[in-house]
């Protein structure tokens, strides 16, 4: 048994706590990828010159960063996994970054986009989906500027992810001589926006941008409906990523005409040269994982694809070897999630998020793209 | 202030909200004396003890113990200075054994005092040293309070209704014990409702009513005082 006949991918997920919803989605996406390749006899691993089955070793961190730290350690030191994939989001990824670096283990980061993770000195990190949060709002800023929106209100939740969006947006707007008429940071745990709505309304804005996590977006949009406060333009992030969840909670009429960053499956990339295109994914995924398709399932699947390409390309199974392999195909890969391209720190820069508007169509919603 | 006074209380007032429990109490205790403090229920005897022993702070007035002002002295300090007390509702360290109860007092207050064994047999608990004190009955607990006070080698001992709930025989034993302590030079303030108990122990009593002193003198004179009879003793002398 010199050459292994299976490869172990270690990852974490959260079955409870504040990140559970997103974490489960992206975990399901990764599992779907593994199931898909295993049905075809596994992944071709260049270093072994053969196809090898994929096994996923996953622990539940319950959304706790402290628990996650121990579990990442467990995956590296006890389970000695071949490939390490982080849990959803910045908080649960943050603890993995130094641990992976310390143990010289390459970390495939699915969605942890906190800008501070990516440094030149750490070669053990690759972000597979989403650009780092600092470049997301470019399209939004461009759109607002182009529309000559002078009175913009920006509300954000005080966490890494939303704050860097906020900072970027505000600086882009300022560069175009637009000073927001209202800015405010609220705790990520906020679930009641009624009072804040009134405060924003008092500044009489033409557009209101709310950067939050899904729960915040839901609560914010709900309170707009319930309060009868009306703003001409409203932007939130997560309808574009988790439309089904949002629709369930806010309702079609509550979401109609709001702006968002559409992502797959709302956004379809046509030049896919690796893995399933969106249409196939949408057909197969729900029957395998019994979970509706949303952006995070796509992101989880996409992480699997990047790993697959890495294994197919890398002549060795050492962690740094794999990292070099990632560099070698960076920029050439087009998946269901768009172009995969990383910079020297391992951060994703290939994906760009457009701005779209949700339009009521029949009983559901469709996207109208406004700005690429 | 005469140096003969172990304790002097001058014009002490204590209120609880709008209720005045002590109103200008003044008295003193001489060295080696047993002073009886009697009065109807709710007249403020226990409150007076609480103020002296540092459990409550007086609103007004002055307190001196062994010539030192003790108005703001915390209870723990007072026990080091040689004042200690028992409680009307006994409060031993219920989870600790009798021995530990006595030991604690003895180690923390380094004054000349009886040895542990001696105290234990003095209060009649020599056979229960390793019993958890919560298991003792209420009289035994009161005696343990006394024992703990003795372990600190007090010069002044405040005894609050030690006799309540004892039968006549036990009362006799207790009286005899307290007399022995007095012979050793320990001054005492004794609060008690049983007149026979007070009569056997004290030469001088203070009768309180509604937070005020209404009489000072011997018990025999007190028994003849009209007001004392009216508010406290009632018809027959017990």
């Amino acid at each position: 048994a010199k050459t292994p006949n299976q490869l172990v991918i270690g990852t974490l997920y959260a079955s409870s706590g504040s990140f559970a919803t997103s974490s489960i989605s992206s975990y399901d996406g990764l599992k779907f990828w593994a199931a898909t390749v295993d049905r075809q006899g596994g992944v071709y691993v260049k270093a072994l010159h053969k196809k090898v089955k994929i096994v996923i070793k996953a622990y539940n961190d319950q959304s706790s960063a402290t628990t996650a730290a121990t579990l990442y350690n467990q995956l590296i030191t006890m389970d000695k996994v071949n490939v390490l994939v982080s849990d959803f989001g910045s908080v649960l990824t943050s603890v993995a970054v130094p641990i992976a670096q310390e143990h010289h283990q390459l970390l495939f980061d699915v969605t942890g986009t906190g800008a501070s993770f990516f440094t030149k000195s750490n070669p053990y990190l690759v972000l597979t989906s989403l650009p780092t949060s600092a470049i997301w709002p470019n399209s939004l800023a461009n759109y607002l500027v182009k529309q000559k929106t002078k009175r913009v209100a920006v509300l954000y939740d005080t966490n890494d992810f939303d704050q860097s969006q906020y900072n970027t947006l505000v600086s882009r707007l300022k560069a175009a001589h637009i000073t927001p008429v209202y800015t405010g940071g609220v705790p990520t745990s906020t679930t009641n926006y009624a009072i804040i709505d009134h405060a924003i309304a008092a500044s009489n804005p033409q557009a209101v941008v709310e950067f939050g996590y899904p729960n915040n977006d839901i609560a914010f949009l709900q309170s707009l409906n319930a309060n009868g406060v009306h703003f001409p333009k409203v932007f939130t992030i997560f309808p574009g990523q988790q439309l089904q969840l949002m629709q369930q909670n806010v309702g079609v009429s509550g979401l109609a005409n709001t702006l968002t960053y559409p992502t797959p499956p709302l956004l379809q990339y046509n030049r896919v040269n690796f893995g399933m295109p969106l249409s196939a994914f949408e057909k197969q995924f729900p029957s395998v994982e019994h979970h509706p398709v949303d952006f995070l399932t796509v992101a989880g699947y996409n992480a699997g694809l990047i790993i697959q390409k890495t294994l197919e390309t890398s002549p060795t199974l050492t962690q740094l070897g794999m990292r070099h392999a990632v560099n070698s195909f960076s920029g050439t890969l087009n998946t269901i999630d768009g172009q995969f391209k990383i910079d020297s720190t391992g951060a994703q820069i290939g994906e760009r998020l457009p701005v779209g508007q949700l339009i009521k169509r029949g009983n559901g919603l469709a996207v109208k793209f406004l700005q690429h | 202030m005469s140096p003969d006074y172990v304790l002097s209380v001058v014009d002490v007032t204590k209120t609880f909200g709008s209720f005045t429990a002590l109103q200008g109490m003044s008295f003193h205790v001489k060295k080696g004396e047993i002073l009886g403090l009697v009065g109807p229920n709710g007249s403020g005897k226990t409150t007076c003890m609480n103020v002296i022993s540092g459990s409550y702070r007086a609103d007004r007035g002055s307190l001196h113990f062994m010539g030192k002002n003790i108005q703001r002295t915390p209870a723990s300090k007072l026990s080091h200075m040689g004042m200690n007390r028992t409680f009307q509702i006994p409060r031993p360290f219920k989870g600790l054994t009798v021995r530990e109860n006595l030991q604690i007092a003895a180690t923390f207050v380094r004054r000349e005092a009886m040895g542990l064994e001696e105290i234990a047999s003095f209060i009649g608990l020599e056979d229960s040293l390793d019993k958890e004190s919560g298991m003792l009955n209420s009289t035994q607990q009161k005696l343990l309070d006394l024992g703990r006070a003795l372990a600190t080698g007090p010069t002044l001992l405040l005894v609050d209704e030690l006799g309540a709930g004892m039968n006549p025989h036990e009362l006799d034993i207790t009286i005899e014990r307290l007399q022995r302590l007095a012979k050793q030079g320990i001054s005492m303030i004794v609060v008690e409702h049983l007149m026979s108990f007070v009569r056997q122990l004290t030469e001088r009593v203070i009768v309180m009513n509604a937070g005020k002193e209404i009489f000072e003198g011997t018990l025999d004179d007190a028994v003849r005082n009209e007001e004392v009879v009216r508010v406290y003793l009632g018809g027959g002398t017990p």
């Binding site: 121990t70 130094p98 501070s116 940071g185 | 604690i104 923390f108």
Partner: protein
């Protein structure tokens, strides 16, 4: 003498286990967290076991230590070890400021300390203080990251903590604390400076949590405010202490090994049911073994350290 021998050997075995543990089971983070919880449990033990004050907000000191140590490292570029001492000192000062809490008793104190820790948390994590604490965005000590050295420092802190509990278990100071716990009024009459003793226990446990927090921060090196102010940290430490039995040296050790072991064992193999099993276990413990495992030994007449 025999007591000292027993306590000494418990102490030694425990420390030795942590010293060589990573060679037995190489997930060193698990061992590290074990030490963290054990030290915290002993900190709770010093306060709750000996004085009866159950600090729900104990994590406040832990978080304070973590943040203070990190800020000393990042802003003043102090040596990690000095920074950790600084973290302990800061927690001590916070403890001193919060000492009026000791005027409360029972559930009031528990909840009051919880409120205090939440206050610290919401202050530290407030975006308005981003310039000082980096607000909700957490700390990054990558430049100082050194799991081996931080592991060793944690071992030393654990040793000091265990030694302190062992001392309290057998000294007259410990006896005085227990007397205070039973009846404060009587304790005062027995000559015990009740307030001073309580404050001492409170500060001691604050110091321990601060040191542990600082070391934890160094070891984990990237963290967010809710990681180091997570209420579960208090609760775990409390449950470990109660499970083993308070006012003893061995109790929290047993509690930590059994429960944290279980936590990792179930947590790793059957995660979806972990929380359920844990909850059931706690309920059973309280109902059927309210004085902890140690009470089993005591009932049999063994005097355990």
């Amino acid at each position: 003498m025999r007591n000292r021998l027993k306590a000494g050997s418990v102490l030694l075995v425990t420390l030795l286990l942590f010293a060589v543990g990573t060679h037995i089971y190489s997930n060193e983070n698990m061992w590290f967290q074990g030490m963290v919880y054990l030290a915290l449990a002993q900190g709770i033990n010093i306060l709750y076991g000996f004085t009866g004050y159950l600090p729900f907000g104990y994590v406040g000191f832990f978080g304070t230590g973590a943040y203070a140590a990190s800020l000393y490292m990042t802003d003043f570029h102090t040596q990690p070890i000095v920074a950790i001492l600084g973290g302990g000192a800061t927690a001590l000062i916070v403890g001193l400021l919060l000492s009026p809490l000791l005027r409360l008793s029972g559930a009031y104190f528990s909840i009051g300390s919880l409120a205090a820790s939440q206050m610290i948390y919401y202050t530290v994590s407030n975006p308005a203080l981003q310039a000082v604490t980096n607000g909700p965005y957490g700390m990054n000590l990558e430049a100082f990251y050194n799991p081996t050295a931080s592991y060793a420092v944690m071992l030393v802190i654990l040793a000091l903590t265990l030694f302190t509990t062992a001392y309290l278990r057998y000294s007259r100071t410990g006896l005085a604390l227990r007397a205070t716990r039973e009846d404060a009024v009587s304790a005062a009459m027995a000559g015990i400076p009740v307030v001073r003793m309580r404050i001492m226990a409170w500060l001691l446990s604050a110091l321990i949590a601060g040191l542990v927090g600082g070391t934890f921060a160094w070891h984990i090196s990237v963290f967010y405010p809710n990681t180091v102010f997570d209420l579960n940290v208090s609760i775990f430490a409390i449950v470990f202490t109660l499970f083993g039995g308070g006012a003893s040296l061995l109790g929290p050790i047993i509690g930590m090994f059994v429960l944290y072991g279980l936590y990792n064992w179930i947590g790793i193999s059957a995660p979806q049911y972990f929380q359920l099993i844990y909850g059931v276990l706690i309920v059973m413990l309280v109902l059927f073994l309210p004085n902890g495992i140690m009470s089993l030994f005591r009932k049999k007449g063994y005097d355990v350290p």
